[in-house]
């Protein structure tokens, strides 16, 4: 029980100073536990959650089934920094998914494909109310799926569900959400990411001179992949193209580091843990990186479609036929 008198204030101050000293020592533990808490932020979601069963698709009279060796991993880049306080009781949050990339590993063929999905893709979004109760769905930008729930694992799963529906029921077996601060951390960790500058960044960062190759460092990487409104093309398409350039180069840098340093995978996962919510723990993520570095990377594909201005915001409508063919090619095989 707390008893507070004015006389206690001096001793509180003293204890406070001591606490500050101890605080520094415990900071590392605290950050780790924050990460663990983030992983546990799914109290409003059914604990028995499992990704949906592998779908069978029909295209032009032929039935296709998902290949056995396929494993999917959705990376969700959020539009906020990790300083945001999350409350597990919240039913809504302000973190939209700004960047969505589906990594498709084929363990039989030992290949890795990546499908870059436009955040403005108009998709069926499930609404959730208090305590994760399902409400009526609506059609909206994919980025909004994450704004339901606490901003933790529940919101990540709402996003994987929306992406799964968009991709004809393909299960999202693993996911990670990354806050904005993951980008500079990752960039610095690999020793910078070289990119060719094609756009005019003069209003964003003059150091990113058009027509030059720049090795992006820290926050510069954020400017490169995030800039939208200040650029000539305010739609998400131009920005997505830059994100793919960054991702491709980042992949090469990651692979270089993984080849040269045996401890890099674990260091990578640990460094990112404070900015990440995932269904996998740090060790599993490190193992995944070690496995995938042996695979051949087929590059980053995007979904064909049309971006139009809606009432207020950009809306991206995928070419459904092209998307279906793309999904079949990447993950399915004809049923015998």
């Amino acid at each position: 029980m707390r008893r507070k008198t004015r006389g206690d204030k001096r001793s509180l101050l003293l204890v406070g100073v001591l606490a500050a000293l101890i605080l520094a020592g415990l900071l590392a533990v605290y950050l780790w536990e924050q990460h663990e808490l983030a992983l546990e932020r799914d109290s409003v979601v059914d604990e028995s959650y499992v990704p949906s069963l592998r779908p069978v698709l029909q295209y032009e009279g032929q039935r296709y089934r998902m290949r056995d060796g396929i494993e999917t991993y959705l990376v969700i880049g959020l539009d906020k920094f990790s300083t945001e306080k999350l409350d597990p009781l919240d039913y809504v949050n302000d973190q939209q998914s700004d960047f969505l990339i589906l990594l498709i590993a084929d363990h039989d063929r030992k290949t890795l494909n990546a499908l870059h999905i436009n955040r403005d893709t108009m998709a069926e979004i499930q609404r959730y109310g208090l305590a994760g109760r399902k409400l009526k769905s609506f059609t909206g930008q994919l980025a909004l799926a994450h704004t339901f729930g606490s901003g933790g694992r529940d919101s990540a799963r709402y996003t994987t569900d929306a992406v799964s529906k968009l991709l004809y029921g393909v299960p999202m077996e693993h996911y990670s959400t990354l806050t904005l601060d993951a980008v500079p951390t990752l960039t610095d960790l690999v020793g910078g990411v070289p990119v060719y500058i094609e756009d005019d960044f003069s209003r964003v960062d003059p150091a990113l001179a058009r027509g030059t190759t720049v090795r992006l460092q820290g926050g510069q990487a954020l400017s490169f992949i995030q800039a939208r409104g200040a650029m000539n093309d305010a739609s998400n398409l131009n920005r997505m193209a830059r994100q793919r350039v960054y991702m491709q180069s980042l992949y090469e840098q990651l692979r270089l580091n993984l080849d040269q340093d045996d401890s890099f995978a674990l260091r990578l996962a640990t460094e990112l843990s404070g900015t990440m919510v995932s269904d996998l723990d740090v060790t599993e993520l490190a193992e995944l990186a070690e496995t995938w570095k042996e695979y051949s990377f087929a590059g980053i594909e995007t979904v064909e479609g049309e971006a139009v201005l809606g009432d207020i915001y950009i809306e991206f409508y995928p070419d459904q036929d092209a998307l279906q063919r793309q999904i079949l090619r990447l993950m399915f095989e004809p049923e015998q």
Binding site: T5, K9, A19, E33, E36, D90, Y91, G129, K136
Partner: protein
């Protein structure tokens, strides 16, 4: 791991307290200064003061008492501000508002009543005490920035402040954290379209609507009320939806859920002429279709109950006779 975290949080709390005590820039908890028993002997060690944030430290009975007090404080305060000369202010230039509450526990070994001295905020106006299930304004004596009053048995103490009415708008920050702050971007709040009092006067400027996610923007006691109400809704909605007959009838046996919870807050609640006719434009993606909307629920004196309302074209219309927490109930698709 949880122990390490608790230890760390305790240290952080101590650090925060010491920093606050030194800087005195943020709203402080009410603190005990001294206490005298009925014989005039020092009884400071026989008194325990607990803030609402620390209420889990209380015994089960005292916790229930504190929560009952918080659940009923808004109406009690409004009543006091209207009718009790110790709280009421005549001038339009100033407003009275709840500042903070605490649970004051007296050790049974002391001879009661106790004369208790606690800290008071700079613009202190009055105090209310919750005993035997009722809030009452009490006589107090302000001395050197502290407040003295007499208490017998355990009680919840509330302090009330006075501040300039500040008709200027949201950017003003009032003493006691009574000011309204702008909402965050990127997700939407229900937007107040129009509020008309029973005399037909538009009182939009006096009211704000804050969803639970942004409850930290509310004045402290309002925030405590909202937290209590929200937790009740979160944990007991299934029972509430069955026990409230009107809600149960409106649901017609179908599954229901809460799509939005918000707090209707007033800059000056003591001068509101109820009943208020309120029109809210709901969140773009939280908006129930006309056929999805089931009911508006209101939290009155610790109970969630059905409120008379309707939704049309994304606009909620309701008549309300209090400020406090509200919840929108819709059909669930589960």
């Amino acid at each position: 791991m949880k122990r390490t975290l608790s230890c760390l949080l305790a240290l952080v709390m101590l650090l925060s307290l010491s920093v606050a005590a030194a800087a005195e820039t943020e709203q402080e908890d009410i603190e005990l200064v001294s206490a005298l028993d009925a014989k005039g002997e020092d009884a400071t060690e026989l008194v325990t003061v607990t803030s609402f944030a620390d209420r889990e430290e209380l015994s089960e009975d005292n916790l229930k008492m504190y929560e009952d007090a918080i659940a009923t404080i808004l109406k009690a305060f409004e009543e006091a501000a209207r009718n009790d000369p110790r709280v009421h202010v005549d001038s339009d230039e100033v407003v009275v508002a709840l500042y903070d509450t605490c649970f004051v526990e007296l050790d049974e070994n002391g001879e009661q009543p106790f004369e208790i001295e606690v800290t008071a905020p700079e613009n202190y106006k009055a105090s209310m005490l919750f005993t035997d299930g009722v809030w009452n304004v009490i006589d107090t004596e302000l001395d050197n920035g502290n407040v003295r009053y007499t208490q017998e048995g355990n009680a919840v103490l509330a302090e009330i402040v006075i501040y300039a009415s500040g008709k200027g708008g949201d950017e003003e920050h009032e003493p006691g954290d009574q000011g309204f702050h702008p909402s965050r971007e990127n997700y939407e709040q229900p937007e107040l379209q129009e509020v008309v009092d029973r005399n037909g006067k538009n009182v939009n400027d006096n009211l704000r609507v804050i969803i639970y996610r942004d409850n930290e923007e509310l004045p402290k006691v309002h925030r405590d009320v909202f937290e209590l109400a929200y937790e009740d809704l979160y944990e007991h909605f299934d029972e509430i939806s069955v026990e409230d007959k009107e809600l149960s009838e409106a649901a017609d046996g179908k599954p229901v859920a809460v799509s939005d919870a918000f707090f209707v807050s007033a800059r000056d609640s003591s001068r509101i002429e109820y009943n208020l006719r309120i029109r809210l434009e709901l969140t773009k993606y939280g908006t129930p279709d006309d056929d999805e909307f089931v009911a508006l629920m209101e939290y009155v004196d610790g109970v969630w109950q059905f409120a008379d309302s309707s939704v049309s074209d994304g606009v909620l219309s309701a008549t309300i006779d209090h400020i406090g927490p509200f919840a929108i109930v819709v059909f669930s698709v589960e």
